[in-house]
């Protein structure tokens, strides 16, 4: 059975795993952003997670999960630029703040963590669900956890990840109303939003990473 919670060292490894995943997904994400945006999203995500990995590698041994996420947010925001830089950067910082004082992330932590990210995203980006943005994936991930009582981390993450994927897929049917692709209006129809897709990829990578861990780690 995969582990039921993550400590700081797990989190570091998981972030590195997401960074690898992002590098693999670069071309796909860029093609999505070429269709409805300016074609830089995949590059930005790869560079941003690369910066996270480097930053986290350099953090002192004892850094907790809260500090790691906060520093990851700073690194992402400081390294990449673009709309996604500030938005995901602030989301990661908010996630760090939501975990303040915690040593581990378990199933119970996932909801406050994801919901703090949604709050931070809405505050910074002013989008609404249905605007064909990152928010549609974040919001759907949160929705997927409603009513889940004290789940273990893996099943919570799996649910959230499935929600995020559904949310990202649903953006394909939305006209763009915000950000660079909004100038497309209905012409964006059929193409999923790159940012939403990235978020789904992140949650899916987290789930996959957790699944791969040996039971003994629990």
């Amino acid at each position: 059975m995969p582990p039921n919670r993550m400590n700081a060292s797990d989190l570091r490894q998981m972030l590195a795993y997401i960074a690898e995943t992002m590098a693999r997904e670069e071309a796909y994400l860029t093609s999505l952003d070429s269709a409805i945006g300016d074609g830089d999203h995949g590059i930005t995500m790869r560079l941003g997670f690369q910066a996270i990995r480097e930053k986290v590698n350099g953090l002192e041994e004892g850094a907790g999960v809260d500090a790691i996420l906060r520093e990851a947010g700073f690194a992402f925001m400081g390294a990449t630029g673009g709309a996604i830089g500030v938005l995901l950067g602030k989301m990661l910082m908010a996630a760090g703040a939501a975990l303040r004082g915690k040593q581990e992330i378990g199933g119970a932590e996932l909801r406050p963590l994801l919901s703090s990210m949604e709050t931070a995203l809405v505050a910074a980006g002013k989008a609404k669900p249905g605007d064909k943005t990152l928010l549609d994936a974040v919001h759907a991930a949160n929705e997927a956890l409603v009513g889940e009582v004290q789940p273990d981390l893996l099943s919570a993450l799996t649910k959230a990840s499935e929600g995020a994927c559904r949310g990202a897929e649903s953006t394909a049917q939305m006209p763009a109303r915000i950000g660079r692709s909004s100038r497309l209006g209905d012409r964006a129809l059929g193409n999923p939003d790159p940012g939403a897709t990235s978020f789904a990829i992140i949650l899916r990578a987290m789930t996959a990473w957790l699944q791969k861990q040996s039971p003994s780690a629990d």
């Binding site: 300016d38 074609g39 830089d40 930005t44 390294a79 830089g85 500030v86």
Partner: protein
């Protein structure tokens, strides 16, 4: 994809390094960040003008730093807004005690990152004001003008605001001049081919061998009409009609015009387009005070061009024509 580059992730960084090495008479690079500032920055008592945005539009923005131009400029990666830390650092490096004006094209990424930097600067009691450039008529209807994106019109707004700052006007006045410039100009572009982004090595959009797209943005954002290409005079006429329908101009007004190449279009074609634009303006009873033709805000190696027309009152005219020098443009009195 064939490009004269070393590392597709390092294009923006090495380009700005090259720029700074080439033009020490105008500017210098800040260590560790992709930003350049006027050679003599900070200029004490002068409002500092900071520009910036994604790379790939060279010479915009970093090429317009110097006396009479911006005090500093921050570059992001290709087509990606710079993140807050270098914006913050550049602002601190140019701040001469009279506040900083942020000038950049109105894109979500730039807004988020520059605003974030402004927050950081506010905590150090550095006054920042912001004008977002919104000249592209193709990007939103008139009633949503504030949502329009900024394209080559950056050139006029930066020139006017920087000249006003050079006159030692205060932050509010410099901001007002930038706003006036932005309110009085309109742009419209046409794209014939896509650029190729170094990191992906691929065009950012497809366009058939016979088509053009009127109103396409500097990052391949879709425009208002895609259709088979027409003779230059007709293309220019169409673009000008859309600009004039939106421009707050009346017969007899004086205007300046910028014919901006997107990167791969020969200068000869820009002159042919200007020749046509010239007739449209004179048919509309407008008289051209100053013309600029060249690649001012490119989109890597995209083929196409844009027109920007600015109506001039006496203040805008004075500021536009004031002497200024920078790597990308020098103008004498």
């Amino acid at each position: 994809m064939k490009k004269l580059i070393n590392d597709h992730d390092a294009v923006a960084a090495q380009a700005i390094e090259g720029l700074a090495l080439a033009y020490p008479q105008y500017l210098r690079k800040l260590d560790g960040v992709m930003a350049v500032v006027r050679r003599d920055a900070p200029v004490a008592g002068k409002v500092a003008v900071l520009t910036g945005g994604g790379s790939g539009h060279e010479p915009m923005f970093a090429g317009f730093v110097g006396r009479g131009w911006a005090d500093g400029s921050v570059a992001g990666n290709i087509f990606t807004s710079p993140p807050p830390p270098p914006i913050y650092e550049a602002a601190k490096a140019i701040h001469g005690g009279a506040g900083v004006l942020f000038l950049y094209g109105n894109y979500a990424g730039d807004v988020l990152n520059f605003d974030m930097a402004a927050e950081m600067l506010a905590q150090e009691d550095i006054r920042v004001s912001t004008v977002r450039i919104t000249d592209d008529v193709a990007s939103a209807p008139p009633e949503r003008r504030s949502e329009r994106r900024g394209i080559a019109g950056d050139f006029f707004v930066i020139k006017v605001a920087s000249a006003r700052a050079e006159e030692k006007a205060g932050l509010n006045q410099v901001t007002a001049a930038a706003e006036k410039a932005n309110d009085n100009m309109r742009s419209m572009g046409v794209a014939l081919s896509s650029c190729v982004i170094p990191a992906s090595g691929r065009p950012i959009f497809e366009i058939s061998e016979n088509d053009m797209e009127i109103g396409m943005g500097l990052h391949g954002e879709p425009g208002v009409q895609r259709r088979p290409i027409l003779p230059a005079d007709e293309v220019a006429g169409d673009m000008m009609k859309r600009i004039l329908a939106d421009l707050p101009a009346k017969g007899g007004d004086e205007v300046a015009i910028l014919v901006n190449g997107l990167g791969a279009t020969p200068l000869s074609e820009l002159f042919i387009m200007f020749r046509a634009a010239c007739r449209c303006l004179s048919d509309a009873g407008l008289s051209i005070v100053r013309t600029y033709v060249g690649n001012f805000a490119a989109s890597l190696d995209m083929a196409g061009c844009s027109f920007t027309v600015m109506c001039l009152d006496s203040e805008l005219k004075r500021l536009l024509l004031a002497p200024a020098e920078s790597p990308a443009f020098v103008q004498t009195a």
